[in-house]
Amino acid sequence: MNPGDLRKDIDHLIASGKPRAATRSFIELWNQDRTVAGAEFITSRYELLREQLSLVPFRLAILRNCTLEPVIPLIRAGAFVNGIDLTVHLGGYNTYVDEMREQNSAIYRFVPHAAILAVEVSEVAPELWWGYSDLTPAQRRDVIARTVKIFADCVSAFRKNCSASLIIHTARQPLTASQGILDAQRADGQVAAVEEINRELRQLAAMYKGVYLLDYDALVSRYGRLQWRDEYKWSTVRLPVAAAHLKHLADEYLRYLIPLAGKMAKVLVLDLDNTLWGGVVGEDGFDGILIGTQYPAAPYHELQRVLLDFYRRGILLAICSKNNSEEAIEVLEKHPGLLLRPQHFAAMRINWNEKVQSLREIAAELNVGIDALAFLDDSSVEREQVREMLPEVTVIELPPNPADFAQTVRECPVFERLYLSAEDLQRANYYSSQRHRVELEQSLSSMEEFYYALEQEIRVSRVESATIARVAQLTQKTNQFNLTTQRYTEQEIAEMAAGPDLELYSLGARDRFGDLGLIGVAVTRPAQEICEIEVFLLSCRAIGRTIETAFLSYLVRRARELGISRVQGWFRPTTKNEPAQGFYSKHGFHCLTQTESGSLWALDLDRAEIACPKWIHMIIPEERS
């Protein structure tokens, strides 16, 4: 359908009460018509649907000293098609300093999940951009210091008043330095001054948890400094971006919002023929397929490079391909030009089954939700089928020319990460050792034998500064074994850990095949009589091996030591946390109340004990010292 017909189709689907079908058409429209007008259409129609769809709510504040109203529909439309129900609060024009300083200002009352400090630095220090050649070296130093201090004060005030994530634009370089080519010959040139400001901003962001830098200058230069701005729009309405590039600014914001809202893809599932390499191995043969750095194989090589970069970023790779398995494996194992080898793939389905079935199997094998998969395939027929049958999967729309594959995949926002934990870097190793665990389980006759044979060791520690990032990440990403599905930012975790009311625990685990890393989090609120478990979660890779019982046994033991008589906790059901559903009843808790949002369970300590499973060795580092 063309964009005009898609609009009619969407209105028709909304009128006939089919919100999910309308959402699919939104995605198709957005793929075809990513424009200011298309965004206005999508956001206006979306307003009619948002109540009926289960999307992740996200609140974004934008602080600015320029006009950004026209960007907002583009951000919201992009968020909606990525499963995020985005509400935007736009701060006043050029009032960001006061809004960040004042404790009770509108942005803090809005209670955002994230804020973007979208400041044109050229307006904060106009001397550097418009009067550079007038400045003495001392004045130059002063302007840089003054500019950096404004940002430092704003960020510090923001952190005092708010625990939301903060994203800071860097400064844009001038189109042409005021001294021309002379500028590059001097250590104290204009370009060097802007670089110095940006370096300071980078250091500033690194000082705080949850403060991130958006390399605005790199964004501008990617699309071309000459085209990025429309000086008429700037001088009349203070709009800093030309019409054609508004969507690129919105896309850049989405790269941050998607990981912050927890909508990232964890697994990239890819096709082989004409995707990972050129040609069809079943027809062209081992020597006939296109692999290597020369034309016409080069585009596939570049795509492999992107996939390898993702692998190093902790994103799992998997294969879903219709081929003869031996032929495909032979290429993966032996072809000299290939960058990716069998050990890079956490799961493989190389057979003649329907891809929808293979994708379901891959999600089950890797213990992730189907919505954690992204699907990469050169065949539009396969893509359409997956979109139709598995709407939760992120289907990457590939352009017709293979030369554009690599950049398309690289720009996919669902693979963006704002930080990497040690676990992210270890993840692929974990999945390759997972095969051995499955073999062990299959070779033994009872689960108990398997648990003993695993030689599991767990380590319960108080959350400390080194583990805050990973703990926050687990609260944001864990969907299945998660009793309350409370999401927290790093900053919130840091504040909770420092405060007097809560105890925060992290759980590390290892077994005979290797380290699983930090895989569990619990937050408890011990009071006089009652200790409430506010957070209890386990990463999907640690489910099904009784680690949760061991972790709970520690929390109960700790409560007993504090003289508490009852441990209680909520189970709040979501569409995904079924694996955690029977957790409290299985461990002898009784149900106190049942409400719409969940059930409250309690264990009275004078009557019950929870033992750590005999096959798990539990270490409490704080007790040892």
Binding site: G4, R7, T35, V36, A37, G38, E40, F41, S44, T67, E69, P70, P73, D230, Y232, S235, T236, V237, L239, A242, A243, A244, L246
Partner: protein
């Protein structure tokens, strides 16, 4: 040109395309305010690959006039 403008204006002012005519103006479109008019200009610039000068836009009072301006601009490019 007007047909393309009609679709854009319908999107921006949140109307159905039939409600948009060459005589549409701030007087008869309730949702026509300064922010939406800016969005309309930007959407047109994006769609037609144009860049308007401020003085071009001062004279616009109806969508019919806007379509005529777009045609003049497009002719200037060719």
């Amino acid at each position: 040109v007007f047909e393309r403008l009609r679709q854009i204006a319908a999107d921006v002012f949140q109307l159905s395309p039939e409600q948009v005519t060459p005589l549409s103006s701030p007087k008869n479109i309730q949702t026509w305010n300064s922010v939406r008019f800016l969005s309309l200009i930007l959407a047109v610039e994006e769609e037609f690959g144009l860049m308007f000068e401020p003085q071009d836009l001062e004279r616009i009072t109806t969508l019919g006039e806007f379509a005529a301006l777009i045609e003049t601009k497009l002719a200037g490019i060719v």
